[in-house]
């Protein structure tokens, strides 16, 4: 009887473990099984679909010849206070950076926190539009022309000020815009240049659903044209689970994230999970060992100029394999309550040189 009991125990143990193995597939953490979050493969499938649908029309920034800059923030862990997120967007707008990148853990998963985030993004986009686009006729028209396009018309003597287009008959305006290949844009047409990747705090519970409501994708790539035939390349990878996952690895190996047939000047890679641990007592996980080596080699194969990481909430600046690896501190007012240099600005100069500076955030929680 005792033997049967032990055998029964053993059988149940085998059954439980292997049952979980066979049923949970790619979600094998006991926590993951309980919480039932998305897996990286689920997310990457969605992200790549969005990427394929929108790649040509939405993401490429075609007109940034000369010098430009971008800023990077990480681990904002936004809850109810949007102060630091608002400040990041304000810094971006004030300096005139081309775009913002965020390295994940943008909000802490509750729906109300994502509403806070969404409102912050809406305010940021409104400010961005107000600064860079001219509303046609009146504020309710929902049609905009970019200041860059209007500057071309002014330079050609077609108009003398932005407001002149409001005085023109609509038919005449359409002809003029067609002559200069200028598009009138709706609010939805205007891409707010905020490019995030998803972090581990963004995927618990319904996090991915909330994240994609605002940002849609976490695996994508775009280019910035820097000279005729030359581009800077930006690659965003989903590592929220501490792995790129099979589908993303396959996509990388298939060259899906590579831009073919163009000359690439700089490649920048953005992802959440850090490769390098800053100290012995940092237990925030990195990649499984073999995957970490794979990533380091892949970054070198891509001739990556800078790879950006977050996750561990500790600043680290390191060269390895010819690649500069920057791990950013948390910009969250909860994790980093004092004012500090939590953002990074990279300036890409016309001659191809780079300058990297840390950018101070002054917001302190009320």
């Amino acid at each position: 009887m005792t033997n049967i009991s032990f055998r029964g125990s053993a059988a149940l143990m085998v059954a439980a473990v292997i049952g979980m193995m066979t049923s949970s597939c790619d979600k094998v953490s006991p926590t993951g099984v309980l919480v039932g979050t998305t897996s990286v493969d689920d997310r990457v499938k969605m992200s790549l679909q969005v990427y394929q649908d929108t790649y040509d029309s939405r993401l490429d920034i075609k007109d940034a010849q000369g010098e430009y800059s971008f800023i990077v923030g990480s681990d904002s862990h936004l809850t109810t206070d949007p102060g630091r997120m608002d400040e990041m967007q304000s810094i971006f707008l004030t300096h005139g950076d081309l775009f913002m990148a965020h390295l994940g853990d943008i909000a802490d998963t509750k729906a109300e926190y994502y509403m806070t985030l969404a409102h912050s993004m809406e305010r940021g986009k409104e400010n961005y539009i107000a600064r860079n686009f001219h509303p046609l006729y009146d504020d309710d028209s929902q049609l905009y022309i970019s200041h860059d396009d209007l500057d071309r018309l002014i330079a050609d003597g077609q108009i003398s000020a932005y407001g002149d287009v409001d005085e023109m008959p609509f038919d005449a305006l359409l002809v003029l815009l067609a002559d200069y290949d200028i598009e009138m844009l709706t609010d939805d047409d205007i891409q707010y240049p905020f490019f995030p990747v998803v972090g581990n705090h963004d995927i618990t519970h319904d996090g991915w659903a909330l994240f994609t409501t605002i940002f849609r994708s976490s695996t994508y790539e775009f280019t910035v044209k820097v000279a005729e035939g030359w581009y800077d390349q930006y690659i965003f990878l989903d590592s929220a689970n501490g792995t790129l996952g099979k589908i993303q690895i396959d996509a990388i190996e298939d060259g899906m994230l590579r831009t073919h047939g163009i000359n690439v000047r700089h490649t920048f890679v953005f992802t959440h999970t850090n490769v390098f641990r800053p100290s012995s007592n940092e237990f925030a996980s990195t990649y499984a060992r073999e995957e970490g080596y794979y990533i380091l080699k892949k970054l070198a194969d891509w001739n990556t100029t800078i790879a950006f990481y977050g996750h561990v909430h500790k600043w680290d600046d390191r060269w390895f394999g010819g690649v500069r690896h920057l791990t950013l501190d948390s910009m969250s007012e909860a994790n980093s309550p004092d004012a500090g240099d939590y953002l990074v600005r990279v300036t890409c100069h016309a001659d191809g040189n780079l300058s990297v500076e840390r950018v101070r955030m002054n917001y302190v929680a009320r």
């Binding site: 032990f6 055998r7 029964g8 125990s9 053993a10 059988a11 149940l12 143990m13 085998v14 059954a15 439980a16 473990v17 292997i18 049952g19 193995m21 066979t22 049923s23 949970s24 790619d26 979600k27 094998v28 953490s29 006991p30 926590t31 993951g32 919480v35 897996s39 990286v40 581990n200 995927i203 618990t204 929220a240 689970n241 501490g242 792995t243 996952g245 099979k246 690895i249 999970t273 390098f276 641990r277 012995s280 940092e282 237990f283 925030a284 996980s285 990195t286 990649y287 499984a288 060992r289 073999e290 995957e291 080596y293 794979y294 380091l296 080699k297 060269w319 390895f320 394999g321 010819g322």
Partner: protein
């Protein structure tokens, strides 16, 4: 719903299989202590599995262990994973301190791994202590890991090493089965990336022992609600004399 059905079906089938084979499917939990009857152990096993980098992989490993005294032992081991293109070799020395019903093991290990796909050379230096009871073992230690690739070298900060095993039968029982949870295996040390699974052993005639292991390696820590990184199995035989 499909997952629940698959889970239930998997449990039932495997429970029946495990129980039905109970007479012969004896199991192993690693009774390492010198038993007074032999001084040499040689072990060979084959591991196979699948991970996200290489897909399917498999390869052999061999180990030799020598008990110099009832307290002191040393071992050397090597493995080659064909599809991973990974070669590993290590040497390990161990001291056993019996205290009441327990054994305390203190070990030092030096390991070299070559990851050919990423042209990486890795050196690991581990010091560990293991508390082993009749039905459990707990291991803690520190590991220093250095790797070099692409002309660069990096030594990680000390990595905390931890492991726990639980078995249903006393450790010296002719068969055993149990669970483990740890951040290392024979030929790697991870950071906070745990792996967990099931191990078993069964004594065979002629001083041989059959053993095996099912191992799941989630990527990331549980705080990242880890996705699967690797699943693998081992099956091997130990011979002592």
């Amino acid at each position: 719903m499909l997952k629940i059905t698959r889970y239930a079906l998997g449990c039932i089938i495997l429970a029946l299989a495990a129980y039905g084979n109970g007479v012969s499917a004896q199991t192993y939990m690693g009774d390492d202590a010198f038993d007074g009857t032999h001084k040499n152990e040689v072990t060979g096993y084959m591991s196979l599995g699948s991970n996200i980098i290489t897909g399917f992989f498999m390869g052999p490993a061999v180990e030799y262990k020598r008990h110099f005294t009832p307290r002191w032992s040393a071992m050397g081991a090597s493995e080659y994973q064909f599809d991973k293109q990974k070669f590993g070799i290590y040497g390990k020395g161990e001291y056993r301190l019996p205290v009441w019903k327990f054994n305390f093991y203190f070990s030092g290990k030096v390991m070299y791994n070559r990851y050919q796909r990423s042209t990486t050379n890795e050196w690991c230096y581990n010091l560990s202590a293991r508390w082993e009871g009749s039905h459990f073992a707990i291991t803690i230690g520190e590991t220093l890991i250095n790797y070099n690739m692409l002309g660069s070298s990096y030594t990680e900060p000390f990595t905390f090493t931890f492991g726990a095993e639980l078995c249903v039968m006393p450790r010296k029982h002719p068969w055993n089965i149990g669970l483990f949870f740890r951040n290392y295996d024979d030929f790697y040390y991870e950071n906070w990336n745990i792996n967990w699974g099931l191990s078993f052993k069964a004594n065979l005639p002629c001083r041989m022992q059959l053993f095996g292991q099912f191992n799941i390696r989630p990527a990331g820590s549980m705080s990242q609600l880890a996705s699967r990184y690797e699943t693998s199995g081992k099956l091997g035989i130990k011979y002592v004399w």
